[in-house]
């Protein structure tokens, strides 16, 4: 009679208790996994918003640009460097940009705007910009038109076909001014982009700012953030002062901090949840042991080593935990998969709160493996801890007293 068989039969001696204990693990796992999935999904969404709509995973910049974002801190990207970066394994696209500030004026109104010169084809590969055009058309190389956010267009009372004047300061202090027809209006899920951003062809921007061939950044995309460290390492070997490489997390420290503090809050919540579950399992184990003291003493009396008994008791706890973990995982995979494909759209005031924070108003879910295996690891750490109780009690069991009952 093998120990696992005895352990398995033992847990069904009190079906109700086993099922209740397993159910507590089940609900704990499902709750923690769904919560983790929602957290990680939201973080991914936030990072996606930042990375895929704007910054990219990595940027090559002039070394002073990030601290002092002026048109003077630009650089000329050589074809050889551009080609070498594009050939780095994991790099899926690159896009040069010349970014500066300008006043955008229509007939009646003026507003400050972020003006970004782009290579339309390269930019589309990086940020999928064309997808967000809601009126008009996307830019083509050498295009003389501009794209602008819908809220900015609405503020300035302009639309497709109207003319916008851009006025700013160019390279080394020259004045920059130009008139541009509105080719298209875009609407990003992130409203601050819609309020501020104007895109125009890179060459047009370089002419506007009197900065021929110069760019403020080369955006580098990789397949996903797992590829980033390797790509970053490869880039670091290619890029030397006066240029430098910045990753999305260096460019967005507030977001990194926000995610870290939110993740910590989630961890504390899950820790409380798991402590409650652990005490539930411990309660069951204490009852299991108390009920079977005499039986365990008999087993020792007839020649069963205490370590074998401890092993059987450990297996019993593992089996109960496994019942909860397996069903909990199955449930959480189902729930998370559903919400991964059908994210919860936030509406009304809540949506406004999201968009005000620059976050797409969606509760996204993640299917990353750690969302699931972290719960298994946690439950098994708890099982290990809880199983110390019967192990210690078995080791200390006084057979004559236990036999007397």
């Amino acid at each position: 009679m093998k120990s696992p068989v005895i352990a398995w039969r033992n847990i069904w001696r009190n079906k109700r208790r086993t099922l209740i204990t397993a159910a507590s693990v089940f609900f704990g796992v499902i709750f923690a996994a769904v919560m983790s999935s929602m957290q990680e999904g939201s973080y991914s969404k936030m990072i996606d918003n930042v990375v895929k709509f704007y910054s990219g995973y990595l940027q090559v910049q002039q070394e002073d640009y990030w601290e002092n974002k002026t048109i003077n801190n630009t650089f000329v990207l050589s074809d050889s460097l551009s080609g070498a970066i594009a050939r780095i394994p994991g790099v899926t696209a690159t896009a040069p940009r010349l970014e500066s500030f300008a006043l955008a004026s229509s007939d009646e109104l003026t507003k400050g705007a972020v003006v970004i010169g782009i290579d339309p084809e390269a930019e589309h590969r990086v940020t999928n910009l064309e997808r967000w055009i809601i009126r008009g058309r996307y830019l083509h190389p050498g295009d003389s038109g501009i794209l602008m956010g819908d809220e900015l267009a609405s503020y300035l009372h302009v639309d497709v076909g109207d003319t916008l004047v851009l006025l700013g300061m160019g390279y080394h202090g020259v004045s920059a001014a130009g008139k541009y027809p509105v080719a298209g209006i875009f609407r990003y899920p992130m409203p601050q982009f819609n309020r501020q951003f104007i895109y125009l062809d890179l060459k047009q921007a370089q002419e506007l700012y009197w900065a021929p061939h110069r760019i403020t950044s080369l955006v580098v995309m990789v397949r996903d953030h797992y590829q980033m460290p390797a790509a970053r390492q490869a880039l670091d070997t290619l890029i030397h002062p006066p240029l430098r490489v910045m990753s999305w997390d260096e460019m967005q420290p507030e977001l990194v901090q926000l995610i870290a503090s939110d993740r910590l809050g989630g961890k504390i919540f899950k820790a409380i949840l798991y402590v409650i579950i652990a005490f539930g399992i411990l309660g069951t184990v204490i009852m299991m042991f108390a009920e079977r003291r005499r039986e365990l003493a008999v087993m020792i009396a007839i020649g069963t080593q205490k370590r074998l008994l401890a092993w059987i008791l450990f297996l019993e706890i593992v089996f109960i935990a496994l019942l909860g973990v397996i069903t909990g995982l199955a449930g959480s995979v189902a729930v998370n998969t559903w919400f991964y494909h059908h994210p919860i759209r936030v509406a009304g005031e809540a949506a406004k709160a999201f968009t005000d924070m620059g976050i797409e108003p969606v509760y996204a879910f993640s299917l990353m493996p750690s969302v699931f295996y972290n719960q298994v690891i946690t439950v098994f750490i708890l099982v290990m801890l809880v199983s110390l109780y019967p192990m210690i009690k078995t080791a200390c069991l006084k057979v004559p007293q236990a036999l007397r009952g």
Binding site: V298, A301, K306, V399, P400, L403
Partner: protein, 227 residues
């Protein structure tokens, strides 16, 4: 041939409130093939004596020597192992494992000894047949009467081929028919297979069948009668 020698065995329970000498300087020996009853009133030290002989309880002083091995010189896990291979136990409350069938209960001890599966199954069936339970091999203890459970317990005690069997009031919970049946089985096993039995008992029917009667009172041997 002597299989058990007990020398100046003492067991004192010394709690804060009270000091009780449960076994008081006992010197005894047991020969192979004995059918011995240890009798005495409640609290006379019968169970404590059996626990000390069976390696379940540590004596305050004295020695228990089984086949030349001083039991209490062994380490705890060695004593457990010694019990497994040398001593069979039958308890008053049967104490079968409730999740195992009669056959599995008997097999379990042979499993601990590392017997091959086929061999231990064959022997378990033989033993259960010998105690008249051939038709209840696959019944769990909850499906067996008290007498049947105690017969399974005897079969279990025999399964490991022990040098002797210690039975602590084995008939205390049985009706007269079951008691008679059990005693006949144990007597037959003793007579035909030379298995040594040492009982503690209050039961006159058991005492009647015993060939040696040791009487304890206040932890002391006050009579040791052979028939």
């Amino acid at each position: 041939m002597k299989i058990i020698e007990i020398r100046d065995l003492v067991k004192i329970y010394d709690s804060e409130e009270i000091r009780v000498t449960a076994v008081d300087h006992i010197d005894l020996s047991f020969e192979e093939g004995e059918f011995t009853a240890v009798v005495g009133p409640s609290g006379s030290g019968k169970t404590t004596f059996l626990n000390l002989v069976g390696g379940l309880d540590r004596p305050t002083s004295g020695r228990v020597i089984i086949h030349g091995i001083d039991l209490w010189s062994l380490r705890p896990h060695e004593i457990t192992d010694f019990r497994l291979h040398n001593i069979g136990f039958v308890f008053q409350a049967y104490n079968l494992l409730p999740v195992l069938t009669a056959l599995e209960n008997v097999e379990f001890i042979m499993h601990l000894q590392g017997w091959p599966k086929a061999e231990r199954q064959r022997r378990a069936v033989e033993l259960l047949e010998a105690v008249g339970l051939a038709d209840r091999l696959h019944s769990r203890p909850s499906r067996l009467s008290g007498g049947q459970q105690q017969r399974v317990a005897v079969a279990r005690a025999l399964a490991s081929r022990p040098r002797f069997i210690l039975a602590d009031e084995p008939t205390a919970n049985l009706d007269s028919h079951s008691t008679e049946n059990l005693l006949n089985i144990m007597e037959r096993l003793n007579r035909e297979e030379g298995i040594t039995f040492i009982f503690s008992t209050h039961d006159a029917r058991v005492v009647k069948k015993a060939r040696r009667i040791i009487t304890l009172e206040d932890g002391k041997v006050i009579a040791d009668e052979k028939r």
